[in-house]
């Protein structure tokens, strides 16, 4: 057994590293750069019932150690994802986590039902936290009752385990997480982007055509770490962590915080080879700190009797 392998509901991961939804398309572009089989899993781009063009451009902007995006869930729609994208990914021995989005609960249910039946979809990721669409999206992710309802409805129809993606734009993240766990979710993924804006001094207007966008990248890592640290102590379902991961060290920080696996988003744009690079470096970094298997790292920052594996000499 590899020192990186880990089993989560529906997911038999050879390593805990996967590209985050929306930052890897449906894998085609990165497949030209490296063998996708090295990945623990792939979180594909949000899929909606109908095709979406998304928001007007500019859709991205750089910020201090981060970026804003307002893609607006552009995707080819459920039908094409089923007929074209998933079959392409079936060429690889990698579990697919399908990111499901919508404007109404019915949309989520429809997409979840159909996409969860695809042979290589091993889990769903319910995107109730997208800040870039007018209806649905984040609205579902900031009210515990609504989050409960949509999770429950999707659980009823899904043929695979359901992970729910949390929005960081809330006062009490645990409250939402607990509601989602109670609704029967199999896991959580966190965090989605923080809502942000940049204003162009020359035009006087927001840089993004959409006005606001989702803030991702290294800047948000401390926010994600503290939320995972908190939530992982409140729920007993596993968490896939994300937000600003750029290195094997970052991955370990997430595991220590309480994540069981880690997704890499923005960093794929900075370095398209980042996922394989991290996968390669992770065992070395882990051994350097005195761990033999990643499972020993999970939740280390708060586990009562966790021995300190490394002591600075």
């Amino acid at each position: 057994m590899s020192c990186l392998s880990i089993k989560l509901p529906g997911l038999d991961l050879k390593n805990p590293i996967m590209p985050a939804s929306g930052c890897f398309g449906f894998g085609r572009e990165y497949a030209k750069l490296y063998d996708l089989n090295v990945l623990g899993a792939i979180m594909i781009k949000a899929t909606t019932a109908e095709p979406r063009f998304g928001n007007p451009t500019p859709r991205v902007a750089e910020t201090n150690a981060g970026m804003l995006n307002a893609i607006g869930l552009q995707n080819p729609g459920l039908e094409k994802v089923l007929s074209e994208e998933l079959p392409f990914l079936a060429n690889y021995n990698v579990p697919i986590i399908a990111n499901v989005a919508g404007s109404l609960i019915e949309d989520y249910v429809k997409v979840a039902k159909e996409i969860s039946a695809a042979p290589n979809v091993h889990a769903l990721e319910l995107n109730i936290s997208c800040p870039n669409v007018k209806t649905g999206g984040i609205a579902f992710g900031t009210d515990p009752a609504v989050a409960f309802e949509v999770t429950k409805a999707v659980k009823e129809v899904s043929e695979v385990p359901v992970y729910v993606k949390l929005s960081p734009n809330v006062a009490n993240i645990s409250e939402i997480a607990v509601a989602i766990e109670q609704a029967g979710a199999d896991g959580l993924t966190m965090i989605n982007t923080l809502l942000g804006m940049r204003i162009d001094l020359k035009t006087g207007r927001p840089v993004l055509a959409n006005g606001t966008g989702g803030l991702s990248g290294p800047a948000i890592k401390p926010v994600a770490i503290r939320m995972i640290h908190e939530v992982s102590q409140k729920v007993s379902i596993p968490i896939i962590g994300m937000g600003g991961v750029q290195s094997a060290e970052d991955v370990l920080e997430y595991l220590f915080a309480g994540a069981s696996a880690v997704a890499v988003g923005t960093a794929n744009f900075v370095d398209p080879f980042i996922c394989p690079t991290i996968i390669e470096e992770l065992p070395y970094k882990m051994h350097e700190l005195g761990f033999e298997h990643i499972s020993e790292c999970i939740g280390r920052s708060w586990k009562q009797h966790a021995k300190i594996a490394y002591s600075r000499t």
Binding site: G22, C23, F24, G25, R28, E29, Y30, K32, L33, K45, P51, R52, F53, G54, T57, P58, R59, V60, A61, E62, T63, N64, A65, G66, M67, N69, I71, Q74, G77, G217, P218, T266, N268, F269, V270, D271, P272, F273
Partner: protein, 258 residues
Amino acid sequence: MKKAWMTIISQTNIARNIYEMTLEGELVDLMSSPGQFVHIRVTEGFDTLLRRPISISCIDKENRQCKITYRAEGKGTMLLALKQPGEKLDVLGPLGNGFTVDELQRGDHALIVGGGIGVPPLLELTKQLNRRGVSTTHVLGFQSKEDVFYKNEFAYFGDTYVATVDGTYGTEGFVTNVLEEIQPPFTTLFACGPTPMLGALENLYPDKNVYLSLEERMGCGIGACFACVCHLQNDPEGYSYKKVCTDGPVFRAGEVVL
């Protein structure tokens, strides 16, 4: 396409805020089509997170060198302008589909129109066209005299006209003012520059073979993030799109909404 370290061979300030940088490395082996671009990681840390897309302005396969020509304007390009010869640069490229030169034959005549920082990729283009025996007329637009660059380089390959907005050099006004004046004969038009210029050219020559190179803010540069999409013309439902990074940056006029 590849990600590789390239060595900075030289860096020259050739006009107001305009820098020409020569890069050397194996990435050059993959470069061919004029109009392609590279995606540059200017700093390794957090000062610039995203890569910067910059067109290739000259390919020199023999010496494994290429040039990029850019305006130091925002944070990334200003940091790029501080780099010294000998330093290495993390470059992803070549990216995108450039201008198709194969369609033109010896004896054809091409019109090449560039505006401001859209001028650089056209230099490699005219070089390649002329190498095929295609003759070229060049019309370049800038703000002001201090902004003019590559006039002599283009003149080497064919007639070259310059327009400046303030009239301090060449014709006063825009490239379209020059075009009205000279009415150049051509079968194919290649253009790169600000969107209003591209729109004007599209309208001016509805019946010609026109290729336009577009700019859009990018995330990945390789087609994965959907940052750089544009709508198609004649698409009533509005769901179709092209990605500037991988389907472009060069499009045939009439294909995408500018």
